[in-house]
């Protein structure tokens, strides 16, 4: 039995409501003819990928819709075959409630791969860089929630001592990883082997919370059949938020990730079980990431369950698949009940980050009361921060102070807000403070660029003026010199002579003309005189 460490704090929730959706096996949803999929271009954390398709184009299932341009970016692929009818902004699952650019794909119902599947790779006989490129080409991102591009993570400079496969799934209601481990254990373990090879590691720990005994059994059986001594399944106690990557790293290795550091600083890499499966499918089957397991649950849904959903299908399709809501106008959120993301519409599409949607009755709004400094938030904080201090400073917009209390180490797990007897939305304050601090940093950087541009312009104008003045001065002195010296070139002499000659000619002509005129007038006068 492997030794495990316990988190400094956290929540022991009484009701996880996981059994609601674990009962039946996962159903795959295939888009019907004419069904419209809204596939957002940005489904990951990082830069926008570059659009590769045009309106009116027919695409096969798995065809590239957008390609990553910068390092931290991920591609997007067609989740089914069909025609692109528009590329326009639509509402997406984001806290801002703002629309973002989506590819609107009208499914032809054939779900046809065509020849878009990439050739299968034998990972043991392939360069690691080729494997990393394959993961990148397949648009694989972390499916635990952070949606960070997996290729960036797996592209390590030095071997990783411990690989951690995260199957904790600590949030209430969510059971997609549970079902995935029960149904796709072979693929997950094969994925773990590929990742072990890619990060040159010899040890993989699969952490699963003890409230998922079936998943643990299936995974253990599969592992025994695989007979890979490098991989070990570790049962961890059910405590929220043990599924956070820094938290599970500590639970399994006893090593704490340093403040504002990464898991790799603690000698570990943490990968979600779903991501491991996606890596397997990318490498061994050449399939891009175009669907995932999604839990549909909540008190206001008729038949909660798990579904394998292609990205881009509207949430309404999932609600219908779960036989609809039991009440009119329910509350629709994405994610578990501890960190829910409210969704304004059921037309919002399923994306790579969608692990769960909850359909629950609208809650009665909690009355927010003043902070009484009871300190319960500090007792439950799994990162051992001082939520109360951060709250007061964030409220007063004293951002340097909030930063001193390490707000950037906050994992926004919501434990503090959950236990707060005054129902203060503490996490909202931390998110506000983080965004504001980041924004101020960006503004300072922008100001610095503006200053540089302004100074450069000033210099350019000065230089132009100086050069003009210099040129003028040079011209003037040159002119003066010439006048002073009085010398002339033969060319000028020739010119002068020509002018002189022309003048003379003109003069001669004039004189001649005058002479003829006088002679004719003389003759005329003579003739008139003669007549008279």
């Amino acid at each position: 039995m492997k030794k495990i460490w316990s988190l400094p704090a956290g929540l022991k929730l009484t009701d996880y409501r996981k059994t609601m959706s674990t009962g039946q096996s996962t159903q795959a949803i295939i888009p019907q003819v004419g069904e419209r999929l809204l596939i957002p271009l940005v489904q990951h954390s990082g830069d926008k990928p570059h659009l590769e398709v045009t309106v009116g184009q027919y695409v096969n299932k798995g065809q590239v819709l957008a390609k990553p341009q910068s390092r931290i970016s991920a591609g997007v692929h067609a989740s089914t075959s069909g025609t692109i009818i528009a590329i326009e902004p639509h509402l997406i699952a984001h806290s801002s409630g703002l629309p973002d650019l989506c590819v609107v794909l009208e499914a032809d119902g054939l779900d046809n791969w065509g020849s878009t599947r990439l050739p299968a790779l034998d990972y043991q006989h392939t360069e690691i860089s080729t494997l990393v490129q394959r993961v990148r080409d397949c648009g694989v991102v972390g499916l635990g929630g952070a949606v960070f591009p997996t290729d960036v993570k797996l592209n390590v400079r030095q071997p990783v001592p411990t690989l951690i496969l995260n199957g904790a799934e600590c949030e209430p209601y969510i059971t997609c990883d549970d079902r995935l481990m029960r149904e796709q254990a072979e693929e997950i373990i094969a994925g773990a082997q590929i990742i072990l090879h890619m990060v040159q590691s010899n040890s993989c720990l699969i952490g699963i919370e003890d409230n998922k005994p079936e998943a643990i059994t299936v995974m253990q059986q599969t592992l025994t059949a695989t007979n890979d001594p490098r991989i070990e399944i570790v049962t961890i106690p059910t405590i929220y938020p043990s599924g956070g990557k820094k938290q599970i790293t500590y639970i399994l290795t006893g090593k704490e990730v340093p403040s504002s550091g990464r898991s790799s600083d603690a000698g570990a890499m943490c990968v979600n079980v779903g991501t491991a499966r996606a890596v397997y499918r990318a490498v061994n089957l050449g399939e891009p990431l175009i669907n995932r397991y999604v839990t549909v649950s909540g008190e206001a849904i008729k038949q909660a369950g798990n579904f394998e959903v292609p990205f881009g299908l509207p949430m309404q399709r999932l609600i219908d698949a779960a036989q609809g809501a039991t009440i009119p106008n329910p509350l629709l959120t994405m994610g578990g009940s501890m960190m829910p993301l409210p969704l304004a519409s059921t037309a919002i599409p399923v994306v790579k980050a969608t692990n769960c949607i909850l359909i629950r009755p609208q809650p009665t709004p909690e009355r927010v009361m003043p902070c009484i400094r009871c300190g319960r938030c500090a007792e439950v904080c799994p990162v051992s921060l001082l939520p109360q201090q951060m709250y007061w400073h964030a409220r007063a917009k004293e951002f340097d102070q909030v930063e001193k209390y390490h707000v950037f180490d906050c994992i926004e797990c919501g434990c503090c807000s959950y236990v707060c007897p005054s129902h203060i939305p503490l996490v909202d304050y931390y998110r506000f403070a983080k965004d504001e601090i980041n924004n101020q940093r960006d503004m300072r950087q922008k100001a610095e660029i503006a200053r540089e541009r302004h100074e450069f312009r000033q210099e350019r104008l000065d230089r132009a003026q100086r050069e003009k003045a210099e040129k003028l001065a040079k011209h003037k002195t040159a002119l003066k010199d010439k006048e002073a010296s009085g010398e002339s070139t033969p060319e000028q002499d020739a010119k002068k002579a020509a002018i002189q000659a022309a003048l003379e000619r003109a003069k001669a002509k004039k004189a001649q003309q005058a002479q003829t005129e006088t002679s004719t007038s003389d003759a005329n006068s003579a003739s008139t005189e003669g007549k008279a």
Partner: protein, 192 residues
């Protein structure tokens, strides 16, 4: 007694020479205070402070010739930051200066633009591109929103608009909710 005087005197002479040498050799070019103030200013170069740009305003503050509350784009935050740096009392912003200015960006109506290049000459950060008798456009990422391009435009085709917000640039807002006093006792609360 005499030896002490000699020692102290010699020491004073040596140190005096050293200090004098250092003052000449390591003389700081420019005003470091103005530099620091300039770092705090938003660098829009808009001239709304009545000085021709951020740097001249910073120099004026450093010399004590200008108030610290004359920067409308910087708003209250900049004023407070300067007050903290100089160790002076914060001064209230004028009524015309919004406390929290919304970042603006200039947009050229390209169908109306006649290509006169006057705005290009006015832009302090070279954020407008175009050529004579050809359409101009604003490089949005470089525009500081200073409005200096508005007056020279002969056809009024430039407008100032708030910077567009996308999900990637969106900021979490300050939490706003009604704060209730704690109920005196639970039964009363239920009755209410």
């Amino acid at each position: 007694m005499i030896s002490a005087i000699i020692i102290i005197g010699t020491l004073a002479a040596i140190l005096g020479l050293l200090l004098g040498f250092a003052a000449i050799q390591f003389k700081v070019e420019g005003d470091p205070l103005a530099e620091k103030i300039d770092k705090l200013l938003p660098q829009t170069q808009c001239g709304q402070c009545t000085f021709p740009g951020c740097r001249p305003y910073a120099e004026a503050i450093a010399k004590g010739e200008a108030n610290i509350n004359q920067c409308p784009p910087g708003g209250e935050d900049t004023m407070k930051a300067i007050a903290e740096l100089l160790g002076v009392e914060p001064q209230p912003l004028g009524e015309e200066h919004a406390a929290n200015p919304i970042p603006l960006v200039a947009i050229i109506d390209e169908s109306t633009c006649i290509g006169c290049t006057l705005c290009i000459k006015a832009c302090p950060v070279d954020a407008i591109v175009g050529a004579s008798k050809l359409m101009h456009t604003v490089i949005e990422s470089e525009c500081t929103g200073c409005k200096l391009c508005l007056p020279p435009c002969p056809v009024d085709c430039i407008t100032m608009e708030p910077q567009s917000v996308e999900p990637s640039t969106w900021k979490w807002p300050y939490p706003v909710y009604e704060l209730h006093p704690a109920p005196a006792n639970p039964t009363q609360e239920q009755a209410a």
